[in-house]
Amino acid sequence: MVKIAIYGKGGIGKSTTAANVAAALSSRGLKVMQIGCDPKADSTRLLMGRKIPTVLDQLRDNHQPTLDELLFEGYHGICCVEAGGPTPGIGCAGRGIITAFEKLEELGAYEAVRPDVVLYDVLGDVVCGGFAMPIRGGYADRVFIVTSGEMMALYAADNIVTALKNFGKRGYAKYGGLILNCRNVDREQELVEQLARETGGKIVGCLPRDPIVQQAEDLVKTVVEAFPDSPMAQCYAALANTMLEECTRV
């Protein structure tokens, strides 16, 4: 089982990327499980065609949820889960991620699904104890960070790498590299390359800005599903391959 965490600043396109990578991997015949770790809970929307109830919703409404109430089958048999979050303004979103993970483990979700690849799609604006959970012991093997050349995206990416380095002594997930999601900012490639150098990583994939992504979104589908023959779909497939290779590299 390969376990991948995709981090990035809110709104940078990490959920779109994660869903397309999941769809591309799934098209290769792999069993994929995608776990959204963002209180917004829309990571798997493009795979499901709708929003699904979250683990935390189920825990709140029903103290003993079963796996059937937490796992949903999306495009091409991809197993979709949303951790969810508290009511805005109260509660603790970070702790929510941990609680959701523990519930999945307690119910034997991984044994039941037996995925070849698990994708954790994680909000990277705040890297507190909870949002760092996918990096920690036993969860992801590799962390990839989606960024553009915008300052806030670069800043968030740098934060995530810092968290990874702080955990260095604990032998947790390794830094897999940056995914450049182009916003056509001035000197974008150069800025992200600089970040890669400074953080000791590399750019594993470059996603050009393409209106077809929005067209697919309007259909509540991934590009891979809606426009499988488009160049953008090829782009996601190539990214998925590189990520998988990176994960199997010792």
């Binding site: 970070g94 702790r95 941990i98 507190c128 104890g129 760092a132 012991g137 604990r170």
Partner: protein
């Protein structure tokens, strides 16, 4: 226990269960908390604390360190303390509500400590939100994972005691009685998880032929050892003076390799409600039935009903309100359990019998505790039976 409680106290928590499990093992234990949790344990969940000094500490967590995630400060405090003491056999860091909320990475901190000190270290994710049996289970799982011989040679005549904890048995003669019983029956007690155990005992625990589980807290470990090493388990403990039924069950399990979690099947619920740890309650039921002919006995527990230990009609009591409802339901005429249960209104219609439980009533009765394998307990069983007959 969920929601609002008027009559019963908060029960022993998971960190207290974990601490009491580690008490005898020569390790350093650090509860990661501000002070209250550690004080709860030493003052209200550990009948052995007075007169025994163990390196069990409070981390002295402060708000700013919690918010900033100052793991390094905790590591440094532990290292400083290590310089002043004999090297402990291990270091265990236990969680409490604050580390739970901030999602402190106790296992990671333990890994770092182990790297720095060379001392085996554990992080146990206790939370203060769950009960003692979970903490005992977490501690036992971590120790077995680390120390127990993974490919054992089976040694005939060896038995482990599982779930032996002062939170169920206090620190009177109960633990010694259980060990003596097994030894008199010709067994050698390999490891008594966790009262009176050593790390060497734990290492050889997988060599045992059979496990005797004496409380709910031991069931998780029993199942693990069954899965990994096919060591069959029997759940039961001594209640009263007749030891033969339990002895027979242990021998049968050993001979057949078949587990015996619940003992005999009982046909019906009835007017006697025994509330407490399921294993002791089951043993009380068994004795009431076989010795005194009391047929209808229902067992209820606050600590998460273990289906394997339960008759189909046994009860999970998830809240105080649920117990109030049971007591006021007129379904029961006799109530057996911790004396504090008698605080619940409506119990005056019932014949109530006290079997103190440290995890419920703490120091209020812990040194005035029943010796479960004694004539006094037998007398209590007789009285319960008499009341069941009269009331029924």
């Amino acid at each position: 226990m969920s929601q609002l409680c008027f009559y019963l106290p908060p029960f022993s928590s998971d960190y207290a269960g974990a601490c009491s499990s580690l008490f005898d093992l020569g390790g350093m234990v650090v509860i990661h908390d501000g002070a209250c949790c550690s004080r709860n344990y030493v003052g209200f969940d550990e009948p052995r604390w007075f007169g025994n000094k163990r390196p069990i500490f409070c981390s002295g967590l402060r708000e700013v360190d919690a918010v900033m995630g100052a793991d390094d400060k905790l590591i440094q405090k532990i290292q400083t303390m290590l310089q002043t003491m004999e090297p402990p056999a291990f270091i265990a860091i236990l969680g409490s509500p604050v580390p739970t909320v901030i999602g402190a990475d106790l296992k990671g901190i333990a890994m770092e400590l182990e790297d720095l000190t060379g001392i085996p270290s554990f992080g146990l994710d206790t939370t203060g939100l769950r009960y003692y049996n979970r903490g005992i289970d977490l501690a036992a799982a971590a120790l077995v994972e680390r120390y127990t011989q993974p490919k054992p040679v089976r040694r005939p005549g060896r038995v482990n005691l599982l779930g032996l904890t002062p939170l169920d048995f206090s620190d009177n003669e109960n633990a010694a009685d259980l060990r003596a019983f097994l030894e008199e029956e010709g067994w050698h007690v390999q490891c008594s998880f966790m009262m009176g155990a050593s790390l060497e005992d734990i290492a050889a625990a997988s060599e045992a032929e059979v496990n005797l589980v004496v409380s709910q807290s031991g069931m998780g470990l029993a199942r693990t050892m069954w899965r990994r090493w096919q060591i069959p388990y029997v759940a039961g403990t001594l209640a009263g003076t007749d030891r033969r039924p339990l002895s027979r069950r242990v021998k049968t399990a050993c001979a057949t390799g078949v587990c015996s979690p619940a003992g005999a099947r009982f046909p019906e619920p009835g007017g006697v409600l025994v509330v407490g740890d399921q294993v002791l309650a089951n043993s009380i039921r068994e004795r009431l039935n076989t010795q005194y002919g009391v047929r209808g006995v229902t067992v209820g527990t606050f600590f998460g009903l273990d289906r394997e230990l339960a008759q189909p009609f046994d009860l999970d009591i998830p809240s105080e309100a649920a117990l109030v409802e049971l007591i006021q339901s007129r379904r029961y005429q006799v109530l057996v359990g911790d004396p504090l249960l008698q605080e619940i209104p409506g119990n005056d219609r019932l014949a109530c019998f006290s079997v103190p439980h440290v995890a419920v009533s703490s120091k209020l009765y812990w040194h005035d505790y029943l010796r479960f394998a004694s004539p006094e307990m037998e007398q209590l069983l007789e009285q319960i039976a008499a009341a069941a007959r009269t009331q029924g």
